[in-house]
């Protein structure tokens, strides 16, 4: 018996070895029913639970008001605020100090300050400033409410004929949000970009974080290491099938965002797809590098969660990035999700194009290359 000898290749190429690994990984991915089911269920469940839970319009948010001037107009504004379902004006504050305290202690999520001389200034067209302080710890809720606030006040002033209706984009007053909180970018529409980043981060990391440790634990690594395949070929062969898996997930989330939540897509869909694939590959590379560092599958999963948590907290998904302390921003900059959120928000909501996103895309690429380099360097080519 001399199996295969007639087929012996003169010069086996890197591509055939890569494709060997690719085909094998693809089969294993397909065969692993549980993983495959999770891959479909995680995005579906999350988008539905989170999407509906977070997207239902927040109502009765506790709020305080500080009236520096009492007259018909300010009373009318207050009445209008009370009539919206967004706020529940629990307290009328007596001073700015009291207002600050109410916010800081968490008794109210919002405080609206109507300045002294508001009526006169508005009649003269001086654009007086209404100050709104918002507790941004629940940015989704506060963002929605804030968006409603300005319209509510405007409509009440129109109704009282303080300002003319059908103004052409001239703001009768300035709506100033407290500097420390920046909920402006946080609206209902950010849920889809946020979920996209979160789900892709979590599932992509786990897929590849287990790939090397699994071979070690099942004992297949011994054969694999004795075969003529380089760490680079191995890595690329292991990562690539999951790019498809990630693309399916992304498509599911986009689809839900589009059909269920009517999220707009202002920018170029191809750019969004391209950068999403880059983000997927970056996460897969990071997961793979965990896999080369971790001693077993449990460790790999733990490392994944260690990475996942800051991705949620510090990427600008949970809390506005600009509102974070400097150190947290630095950590955030090292997380792919931070850049991806900016990319998705930019493309979907603001219609950003590639020149606007060079920096974010470049940093994603850089993070990917760093992860791949670590993985190659850390890959143990022997059983020592």
């Amino acid at each position: 018996m001399n199996i295969g000898a007639p087929h012996r290749a003169a010069r086996p190429g890197a591509f055939t070895r890569f494709s060997a690994m690719f085909v094998k990984e693809f089969i294993q991915l397909r065969r692993d029913r549980v993983t495959f089911a999770t891959m479909i269920m995680i995005p579906l469940l999350q988008i539905i639970l989170f999407g509906f839970a977070i997207n239902t319009t927040p109502t009765n948010l506790p709020a305080a008001v500080l009236m520096q001037e009492h007259n018909d107009i300010t009373r009318s504004v207050l009445a209008a605020l009370r009539n919206t379902s967004y706020f529940r004006f629990v307290i009328e504050a007596e001073s700015e100090a009291e207002m600050d305290h109410l916010i800081r202690s968490g008794e109210v999520l919002f405080a609206v300050e109507i300045p002294a001389g508001f009526e006169r200034a508005i009649r003269r067209g001086d654009k007086p400033a209404i100050l709104v302080v918002a507790d941004a710890t629940d940015p989704v809720a506060s963002g929605t409410a804030l968006a409603a606030l300005q319209g509510t006040i405007e409509r009440s002033l129109e109704r009282d004929r303080v300002i003319p209706p059908n103004r052409e984009d001239v703001q009768p007053f300035e709506f100033r949000q407290h500097r420390r909180y920046n909920p402006a970018g946080v609206t209902r529409l950010n849920i889809v970009p946020g979920l996209l980043g979160t789900i892709l981060t979590m599932t992509m990391l786990i897929f590849t974080a287990l790939s090397v440790t699994r071979e070690v634990e099942r004992g297949t690594m011994e054969s694999l290491l004795a075969m003529p395949i380089s760490p680079l070929e191995l890595m690329l062969g292991k990562i690539t099938p999951y790019i498809f898996a990630g693309a399916i997930q992304a498509a599911i989330i986009f689809g839900c965002g589009w059909f269920i939540f009517s999220v707009p897509l202002e920018g170029d869909p191809l750019l969004l797809i391209g950068l999403t694939l880059l983000f997927i590959t970056t996460n897969l590379s990071i997961g793979y590098s965990f896999s080369t560092v971790a001693g077993n599958q449990l460790q790999a999963i733990q490392m994944t969660f260690m990475f996942f948590l800051p991705s949620i907290l510090l990427s600008g998904f949970m809390f506005p990035f600009a509102g974070m302390p400097r150190w947290a921003q630095w950590i955030g900059e090292a997380l792919p999700m931070t850049h991806y959120l900016r990319i998705v928000r930019g493309i979907m909501l603001k219609g950003a194009s590639l020149p606007d996103l060079y920096r974010e895309a470049g940093l994603l690429l850089l993070l990917m290359l760093i992860a791949m380099t670590i993985a190659i360097l850390r890959f143990r080519r022997t059983l020592d």
Partner: protein
Amino acid sequence: MNGNGAGEYVIDVEGLTKRFGGRAVVHDLTMQVRRGEIYGFLGPNGSGKTTTIRMLCGLLTPDGGRGTCLGYDILTQADLIKPRVGYMTQRFSLYEDLSIRENLEFVARIYGLDKPREAAAEAIEQLGLKGRENQLAGQLSGGWKQRLALGACILPGPDLLLLDEPTAGVDPQARRDFWNEIHGLAADGLTVLVSTHYMDEAERCTRIAYIAYGELLSHGTVEEVIEKAQLATWTVSGPDLHRLAQKLMETDGIDMVAPFGSSLHVSGRDEKRLKAAIRPFQASSEYRWSPSEPTLEDVFIDLMQQSRDNFAEEAVSGGTLS
């Protein structure tokens, strides 16, 4: 050193040493395997056979020593060795969640065969697995797994096979088939290093090496190994051999007592002292004594006991020193 295995020796290593946590698991091992040879690698559990094989194919880095495999330096040219070596691991290490065909195609692709599908299909036919090619490897019986693993090793057409206990848990008929295949491959010029615990398999090897506690204790053809041991052996049969064996073991001049079928093999390294030692037992008419040739197994058991004694002594002296 340009290796195409052109030299006389396919494996030529000197002073190989491997330590795990300060303990030398393989110690100063020197061995040579010639082209086309079937080289048997024997030794008790934990003696360092697997470790040695792993060092030969670049899976472990030796802590000491040097050598070549197929003419390539085992320390620096593992990448050149791997494509030409088929390594069959002791524990099944193909993918249990891939089918037989998928496993073989994977191997064929990794080694860059021209037509991986065709190569795998041919292998399936030759392995006698036709009709079962879509069965998952994990569902195969132990013996069939071994067959598949061997098939996967041979598939890329290697120049050297490293087989780590390829017939463990395989039935006698399958074992015989297996060895016929091995001999066929060797006749075609393939070199085979095979570790085993079976004496009958050792006797089918061109040459053998015996390793215990990481030390190579003896090597050569089976006849040479037996000859070198200088063992004198008597066979004794009779009632209650178990009790007799215990008494014999405590007797000076008797180095080894081992059951042999329904009788005992009693051996000593010094023929005269052995004769003197068994004389009192021969007086009893219950037992029948006859001089006989030592078997390979007698030699191995003796070698192992000898080295265990040395090992224990070292450990004891080490213990009193510290």
